[in-house]
């Protein structure tokens, strides 16, 4: 079970097409993007809206490059900008491109079995390993008993305060796997704002050539 949980979010490679909707005090807005990932390399390209189409992010290892179509420049993102929010959403750039190394960074224990929010779930508490470079005090993951799909993930600081939470829903079968296609992320101190990610297409273990993840390719 622990293994299953750890492997929920990982695969050798994937291509995803999704839309991200942000609603906050500035009003709602929506972006659509395509994300390629292979090992520790990730490429994100924005397709709409029109004024941001072509913007792309390339991550190799821990280095991140940003391509700006408007000025036709590629800029390497300094460490200080990786924690800024991605497109004003509740996700950071770091979230977008980082791999989840759950088993590497966390020890997983089962903490509860039963009903949460009217749904029967297995609840796991993930505690960061002593040397893991993560800021969280703990993560709590609730997995539906019915289809063994994630339902809710909470990010807590060391004092046990909930800092942000993600809700999963709309489970669909794609490419032979059952996956949640709707993710909603919310920061605990901004209850009126949230970011919703909906996957239109999601394929795993697809062959992707290595030069997809190169600087020249960013500009396409």
């Amino acid at each position: 079970m622990v293994d299953r949980v750890a492997h929920l979010f990982s695969s050798k490679s994937s291509i995803a097409t999704l839309t991200m909707q942000v609603s906050d005090e500035n009003g709602p807005r929506s972006l659509s993007m395509k994300i390629w990932s292979l090992g520790d390399k990730v490429l994100v390209r924005i397709n709409s809206p029109q004024d941001q189409a072509g913007t792309a992010i390339l991550k190799i290892g821990r280095d991140i490059w940003y391509y700006l179509p408007k000025t036709n420049r590629t800029v390497k993102l300094p460490a200080s900008m990786t924690m800024t929010s991605w497109m004003g959403s509740a996700f950071t750039i770091d979230d977008l491109v980082k791999q989840s190394f759950l088993t590497r960074d966390y020890s997983i224990t089962t903490s509860f079995e039963g009903k949460r929010r009217e749904v029967a779930v297995y609840e796991y508490t993930l505690t960061p390993k002593p040397d893991a470079a993560v800021v969280w005090g703990k993560l709590v993951l609730q997995v539906r008993q019915a289809n063994l799909m994630p339902a809710w993930q909470g990010y807590y600081d060391e004092d046990g305060k909930l800092v942000r939470e993600m809700t999963f829903s709309d489970y669909k079968n794609t490419d032979g796997r059952l996956v949640p296609t709707r993710l909603v992320m919310r920061a605990a101190d901004k209850p009126n704002e949230q970011t919703t990610v909906v996957y239109q297409d999601l394929r795993f273990d697809v062959p992707i050539s290595a030069d997809t993840f190169s600087l020249p390719n960013l500009k396409q």
């Binding site: 290892g61 821990r62 200080s80 990786t82 893991a132 993560v134 800021v135």
Partner: protein, 430 residues
């Protein structure tokens, strides 16, 4: 000869014929001297403290760093290992030992510190705790937790402003992320820089220096951790900060180090060169003090002038009588001068007693200036709200000398005048 002795005796007894007047005068003069000593002590002390504190919140009296670091601050400029050993050897040598108070090698870089709540850009300083304690003021300004020590290898010490922004406290987790340093000899375009590294740290202590820039930006962590983070396999450092026992030795020590390291791509700077802002602030403070001392001296001078002139004037009658009784003008003059010398000596003794004891109190317990400031904030002059007085022997001698000369010279004029007092005029006072 005997007449001189006689005159002296008369002088002395004259003083005590009017004990209240004499004492009041002595008190006035003594108070003047005491005020001078106290104000000099406090102003000098404040100034020295500013240097000491400023230097210890920065890069020490003398700093050795890679050539060009002062201008660019680029974290890629590291000290060659050979230079580091040469410098350290020299600083530990018998010749330098009595001058040097502390030596601290440091690695300086920038990075991002994140907590669960927030993140911020920081100035990373990798240090050897034991050595940094002899050099920096930060270990002494810890307000929560404790400074780095060897049994907390992944500890980090941050400023109170930063702690507030990140919403962390002692013991909290933080993650530090930074760009490793490009190794010398690699081309910028052909080889990408090393991967960004991040590492987990625990806040062991929080400090407050009063300088917002420091409290919001600077973090200290163990040198080995910083070196690993920045991908430095050769255990390199950015700078060596040196704190001396006396500010006056800065130039000499810097020159000696420069000679020793000639040919190496390093720069050896005194604090005036590495912290020109501090040097300027000190020059301004010096100017201030100059004006203040001048005014205090002038006021004390006026007080002395007033006291002595009046004292002499009131005794015209007396002098008239002396002359009528046959005292020669020159003898009268000597008598007056003698009296004034005696009086001045008593006053100086009183003044020294009062002044030095008050000054000693300020030197040990300090003068707490906190009632002047709004609570919580220090002026950016970089000093402790508790002002410690420092009075050098030179200053004491100078002060005593000035007061003595003033008092004595001021009594010559009336002495001369008195010697020429016309009898009828003087006696008319009655």
């Amino acid at each position: 000869m005997t007449s001189l002795l006689l005159l002296a005796k008369i002088s002395w007894r004259n003083l005590w014929r009017n004990p209240r007047g004499t004492l009041l005068t002595a008190l006035a003069l003594g108070l003047g001297l005491a005020l001078l000593l106290i104000s000099l002590g406090l102003l000098d002390g404040g100034h020295e403290q500013m240097v000491a504190d400023g230097v210890r919140l920065g890069t020490g009296h003398v700093v050795i760093q890679s050539k060009g670091f002062q201008d660019t601050g680029s974290q890629e400029l590291l000290l060659p290992v050979s230079a580091v050993s040469a410098a350290e050897d020299m600083l530990l040598s018998a010749a330098m030992q009595p001058l040097v108070r502390g030596v601290s090698p440091r690695l300086v870089a920038t990075g991002l510190l994140s907590s669960a709540a927030n993140n911020d850009g920081v100035r990373i300083i990798g240090v050897i705790p034991r050595q940094e304690r002899t050099v920096s003021l930060i270990p002494q300004r810890i307000v929560a937790g404790s400074y780095l020590n060897d049994d907390k290898p992944s500890g980090v010490v941050i400023g109170s402003e930063l702690a507030r922004k990140l919403e962390v406290k002692e013991g909290s987790k933080v993650v530090l992320m930074t760009q490793p340093v490009r190794q010398p000899g690699t081309e910028a375009k052909t080889q990408p820089e090393g991967e960004m590294q991040s590492t987990l740290l625990r806040v062991t202590g929080i400090f407050t220096t009063g300088l917002r820039a420091v409290d919001a930006n600077v973090i200290h962590l163990p040198l080995p951790v910083a070196q690993t983070l920045l991908g430095l396999p050769n255990h390199q450092v950015t700078q060596i900060a040196v704190v001396l026992g006396r500010e006056g030795d800065s130039l000499a020590v810097a020159t000696a180090l420069r000679k020793r390291l000639i040919g190496a791509p390093v720069e050896v700077l005194t604090w005036r060169q590495s912290m020109p802002m501090l040097a300027q602030i000190l020059r301004l403070d010096h100017a201030f003090n100059y004006i203040m001392n001048g005014v205090v001296l002038a006021m004390v001078g006026l007080g002395i002038l007033n006291t002595i002139l009046m004292r002499v004037l009131e005794r015209r009658y007396e002098f008239g009588v002396c002359k009528a009784l046959g005292l020669r003008p020159i003898q009268l003059a000597i008598m007056i001068v003698g009296e004034s010398l005696a009086l001045t000596t008593i006053s100086l003794a009183l003044g020294l007693l009062l002044g030095l004891s008050v000054q000693h109190h300020f030197a040990t317990s300090g003068l707490d200036l906190r009632w002047i400031f709004k609570p919580g904030l220090n002026p950016a002059l970089v000093f402790d709200p508790i002002l410690y007085s420092r009075l050098s022997l030179e200053r004491i001698v100078w002060s005593v000398g000035i007061v003595f000369v003033m008092a004595t010279v001021l009594s010559f004029y009336p002495a001369l005048k008195a010697a020429r007092t016309d009898l009828p005029g003087a006696l008319k006072v009655l």
